[in-house]
Subunit: 148 residues, 2 copies
DNA sequence: CTATTCTTGACTAATTTGGTCAAGTTATAA
DNA sequence: TTATAACTTGACCAAATTAGTCAAGAATAG
């Protein structure tokens, strides 16, 4: 469990995609301007998002990125998992779940408990929800821009 | 909003305190062994936790750290705020909240929305809850150790 | 009462990790 | 074939983490 600036950037970028999906592919240059991050860094993030099947990339002029699934079917936790992936790739060849539980200090089980709670919560928030404010409207500035 | 390994260490360390508070002060050396972090780093963390009034230090033999408030009155978010404090200290002399909202790209407002949600959730989880599993018992290994 | 040991408290420096960016490469539409 | 924008790789910089030193308070042994 981890929620750093990297995760934040990924989430806000995905929010941007969710808001603009009507107007076709969104270019990284646009997001770069919007969030004042470098395109290079966005490329790194989207490489991982693409690898995890959250977005699709369209090359060439008029290209950009789109959500692969509808925004209501992508959770905030999905995005974090895609971007943070630190342990998935690393091979855990032999050790079983139980063996790991033994090895790791029991104090870490405390964290796992809590971590699971938080992740469950973040899994309950969809990208569609995140983009929508409490009273059901899109957030102010973003709405204006997407309607322009 | 930020939840990195630093925050995790602080939280698990506080959990340890919550579990052992019956046996009096907990020494940093103990926690260091338990979680395999350096004592030096723990000292840094606890310096901040103490500054924010979450723990009290008792010197001398038999000394250590205790929770200042009962575990049920300390939220997980409290701990994160204490340890992460990056912006509190930095002076925001003139700019009002509204002015900041103008300046920051509107896409960041999306994040703030979500960030508030997450923090609200973490504020709803007390240290006491975090240490207790769903069926109301203390977590396995930790319970055994605290009873030994 | 003095010495010794345990532990916080306040530093500083070294190291490792992760975040950030720059430049070059390939695919695709016009 | 030319411009656009996704891909790929490598390097740099800042923050997290470890390591270590020194002082001072507090209980205990002698």
């Amino acid at each position: 469990m981890k929620l750093s600036t990297k995760g934040r950037y990924a989430i806000t970028a995905m929010m941007e995609l969710a808001l603009r999906h009507k107007q076709g592919p969104v270019t990284l240059a646009d997001i770069s301007v919007e969030q004042s991050i470098s395109v290079s860094y966005l490329e790194q993030l989207f490489a991982q998002l693409r690898k995890h099947g959250l977005v699709t990339g369209l090359r060439g002029p008029g290209g950009g990125y789109c959500l692969r699934r509808p925004a209501s079917e992508i959770s905030v936790a999905d995005i974090l998992r895609a971007v943070d992936e630190s342990l998935e790739a690393v091979a855990h060849p032999v050790s079983t779940e139980a063996a790991q539980a033994e090895q790791r200090g029991e104090s870490l089980m405390l964290w796992d408990q809590l971590s699971q709670q938080i992740y469950a919560y973040l899994d309950s928030i969809s990208l569609a929800q995140a983009v929508t404010s409490k009273d059901g409207k899109l957030v102010a500035g973003a709405l204006q821009r997407s309607a322009a």
